[in-house]
């Protein structure tokens, strides 16, 4: 719907909101699995990271500078390659021959920071959206 120019800003904000939602989900997943010693494929859970990339904004075709308006998508969920954290606990059923248990390479403080960043970015996206809606409403009020 290219005739409604303000919708482009809304689409772009929406793509940002979806990306931040995914980031929030990943932060929740990392936090929930901070102590998970067994994951699919063997070994402890590996920290996930969201890779965002810019894409052509949906619905921007036909608007001025359409090629320069970019939305965002989650292009990939990468697994952190950092080695697991080893903790000496010989009594643990998952302990190796030396008595060490491999825990995920997750720092909960870092995950909290990620989570709050995602939350703030979501808020920023909502603000953008609200502003775009307000602009459209102002435009509709011309001459009234």
């Amino acid at each position: 719907m290219s005739s409604m120019d303000f919708f482009t800003a809304m689409e772009v904000s929406a793509s940002g909101l979806s990306a931040e939602r995914t980031r929030m989900n990943i932060a929740a997943s990392n936090l929930a699995n901070a102590q998970t010693t067994q994951a699919a494929g063997g070994g402890p859970y590996k920290r996930r990271d969201v890779i965002l990339s810019a894409v052509d904004a949906p619905g921007a075709q036909g608007t001025p500078f359409a090629q320069q308006v970019k939305g965002v998508v989650v292009s990939q969920i990468a697994q952190d390659a950092a080695p697991p954290r080893l903790e000496y606990d010989p009594g643990h059923p998952q302990a190796n021959a030396q008595g060490y248990v491999a825990y995920p390479n997750i720092n909960p403080v870092e995950e909290m920071v990620d989570m709050i960043t995602a939350s703030r970015a979501y808020e920023a996206g909502i603000t953008t959206m609200t502003t775009a809606v307000n602009m459209a409403e102002r435009a509709l009020g011309i001459g009234r």
Binding site: M1, M10, A14, M129
Partner: protein
């Protein structure tokens, strides 16, 4: 006394200017644009209903914000259509009140 008619003043070179070709314009009157806006509002309303349904069904790809955005778009489209309708009616009344 013989009054000769005043000959019109012609600026030099005026006739040599070729008339500017008017590009063919879409025939889009107020009623047409209102119909177009109404169709757009209808489509947005359908999208909004569909989004709400998908969300209620538990479609994982449909977030709360998508539902809200779709409904907000439907709202704006409908208000755009309403505004056009009001303008068209206003213009019509204005013409009907013309004193002759």
């Amino acid at each position: 006394m013989n009054n000769s008619p005043i000959s019109p003043i012609t600026p030099p070179g005026f006739a040599s200017i070729a008339p500017v070709e008017q590009p063919a314009r879409d025939k889009l009157d107020l009623a047409g644009s209102f119909r177009h806006a109404l169709e757009e509002a209808h489509a947005a309303e359908n999208t909004s209903t569909h989004a709400a349904e998908q969300f209620a069904k538990g479609d994982p790809g449909m977030g709360i914000h998508e539902v809200m955005i779709a409904s907000e778009k439907a709202n704006i489209s409908l208000r755009y259509a309403t505004t056009l309708k009001n303008k068209a009616l206003e213009a019509y009344r204005e013409l009907m009140n013309t004193q002759v």
